[in-house]
């Protein structure tokens, strides 16, 4: 077979793979077709790999086999052992790996092309222009920049999501705290400028591959600098944005290799991450720039916790809640990050089943930024066998909340804070919330009155129709189930 026929067959296979990727993602538009969609995606990947290996002149089969076996082993191990509560860290880590693969491939290409370009054969000399073309070298610089930034930023995000901490001199430092360096905007700006200068230097002299590696290091530093100031509540935005970057890095590598399937698959991921990022920002009523560069300070003008709570908090017990739940028609549970922390999803399922057995209708209201990543709560509830029809979006459930007898807020705070509607000066002003304060009775399961990420008190807790059940999420539901059975 001549060279051209091989290329035609290879690129036709890439075309089929691209179509399969698109239809695979389309499958994800409904839970019923989603498993098949995912399988289509994996088939597309297999096809792309086989077509590549078939068409390329592979001399190092041993490296390829070892790499594939090692990568598959690690990937399969992580995928099968990660608990559902650990999904945000897992996705964060994979975002980083995507970035790493992109800058490594671009670096490898640069090294190979410099060698070809410096080869003193007539044949090689003829291809120099092509190998280190302006397009290729700009794309290599872009892969290096985006890829390294994605890797280091993702590793910081993983440390924050996994609640890692270091103890220095007897004092504990949590990764999830915002780290605010003095003059950080200036430092970040200068680092960014330096990265761009290095890109230009590389484009001017593509044969000096050391510029590339300096660029990779500087971009990695930039990735750390832009991620460390971001606090826990904004993690869903950051993880979605890094997801997008990992796709765009693959895309840039596609421009290096002039490879269609890389560009198409990379763009799909890039678009997906950008859409999720924008959904998360809208759900917090903040712009992306605000999430990335501003910090949510404590509300200085707002009322203090004492003013809001004094004398108005009604603590309750499992027995009292069991009485409230006697004969109710409609119950809505609003889960937050606290449910993930206490691993309460299975106890919640048992509780919901018990209530449904008594004729009540139990639904779940899920705020888009509840948890640490988009869809985090849904996965936990699905793990506990709660059917997806019972998981309602904020916009779907809000108009019907007035007909709800009891709302149970489990480890959520800012996403049910009515201040978002009432106080235009509050840090969460205008953020869409789940209006549980409109339900007849609100039960809040929470360990203490400590504020949520926004650092402001929640007047919901002090309402006449609110009962506070101070407890750990999992234990609270176990006690509720026992109390219901006794009653």
């Amino acid at each position: 077979m001549d060279e051209q026929t091989v290329r035609i067959i290879q690129n036709s296979a890439y075309l089929i793979a691209s179509v399969l990727f698109i239809f695979g993602l389309k499958g994800l538009t409904h839970p019923r077709s989603a498993v098949r969609g995912n399988l289509m995606g994996s088939l597309a990947m297999l096809l792309a790999v086989v077509a590549t290996l078939w068409a390329a002149d592979i001399v190092n089969w041993q490296w390829i086999i070892v790499g594939l076996v090692l990568g598959s082993g690690i990937g399969a191990f992580l995928a099968m052992t990660v608990p559902m509560t650990g999904m945000p860290q897992m996705v964060g880590l994979f975002n980083g790996f995507g970035g790493a693969a992109s800058f490594l491939v671009a670096g490898g290409e640069l090294v190979m092309r410099i060698r070809t370009a410096s080869a003193e054969t007539v044949e090689a000399a003829a291809t120099v222009g092509n190998d280190l073309s302006l397009q290729a070298i700009i794309a290599i610089a872009a892969s290096g920049l985006i890829g390294a930034l994605t890797l280091s930023g993702s590793l910081v995000a993983v440390a924050k999501l996994a609640e890692m901490k270091v103890t220095i001199g007897g004092k504990k430092y949590w990764a999830s705290d915002s780290v605010l360096l003095p003059g950080r905007h200036l430092i970040n700006g200068l680092t960014m400028v330096l990265a761009i200068v290095l890109c230009v230097a590389l484009v001017k002299d593509p044969t000096a591959s050391s510029w590339y590696w300096i660029l990779v290091v500087v971009s990695a530093v930039l990735g750390v600098l832009v991620t460390i100031p971001i606090g826990g509540a904004d993690m869903p935005v950051v993880i979605a944005l890094l997801n997008s970057y990992s796709g765009l890095a693959a895309c840039a590598t596609g421009f290096v290799l002039s490879n269609n399937v890389l560009i198409i698959a990379g763009s799909l991921v890039g678009a997906s991450g950008l859409i999720l990022t924008s959904i998360m920002c809208k759900a917090m009523n903040r712009s992306l720039a605000n999430v990335m560069f501003a910090t949510l300070g404590p509300a200085e003008d707002g009322p203090s916790a004492d003013e809001v709570y004094a004398g108005k908090i009604k603590a309750t017990s499992a027995e009292e809640i069991a009485m409230v739940l006697d004969g109710v028609q409609r119950v809505v549970i609003v889960p937050g990050y606290g449910m993930a922390v206490s691993q309460a999803q299975h106890a919640v399922r048992d509780f919901a089943n018990l209530l449904e057995g008594r004729g009540a209708e139990v639904e779940f209201a899920i705020h888009p930024v509840a948890g640490r990543m988009p869809g985090h709560m849904n996965v936990l509830l699905a793990e506990a066998d709660i059917p997806y029809e019972k998981l309602l979006e904020m916009d779907e459930i809000n108009p019907t909340l007035e007909t709800v007898d009891v709302a149970i807020v489990l480890g959520a705070n800012d996403v049910v804070n009515p201040v978002a509607r009432t106080d235009p000066k509050s840090p969460i002003a205008g953020m869409p919330i789940i209006d549980v304060d409109k339900c007849r009775t609100v039960i809040v399961i929470k360990r203490s009155l400590s504020p949520g990420f926004a650092g402001i008190p929640n007047p919901l807790f002090a309402l006449d129709n609110t009962l506070m059940f101070f407890n750990d999420g999992k234990k609270a539901f176990a006690e509720l189930i026992a109390a219901l059975k006794d009653a």
Binding site: G75, M87, L104
Partner: protein, 94 residues
């Protein structure tokens, strides 16, 4: 450069538009599996890694390609498998 770049940019822009149209229809309940599935798809860099690791051009490019191959394969295998695990949970009582 030139014509080829425009062709590649055409593919890029159209793919972004298709991606936007398809992904806005993914319901929030599947956003986590969407992200892990995206992780797997971004492992498409495996294509470039195979070439760099297998071509045997220089030691440096082989090592770089090999490392990229491991990272990309972790993403592909791990991403599709963990998505499958999650999606089966959604299907059980669907």
């Amino acid at each position: 450069m030139g014509l080829e770049l425009v062709t590649l940019l055409t593919i890029f822009v159209l793919a972004m538009i298709v991606g936007r149209e398809v992904i806005t229809k993914v319901p929030p309940t599947l956003h986590t599996p969407l992200m892990s599935g995206s992780n797997a798809i971004s492992g498409i860099t495996v294509v470039g890694a195979l070439i760099a690791a297998g071509a045997g051009a220089t030691w440096t490019s082989t090592i770089l390609g090999f490392l990229a191959l491991v990272f990309a394969t972790v993403n592909v295998v791990g991403g599709f498998l963990v998505s499958h695990r999650m999606l089966m949970m959604f299907r059980k009582k669907g």
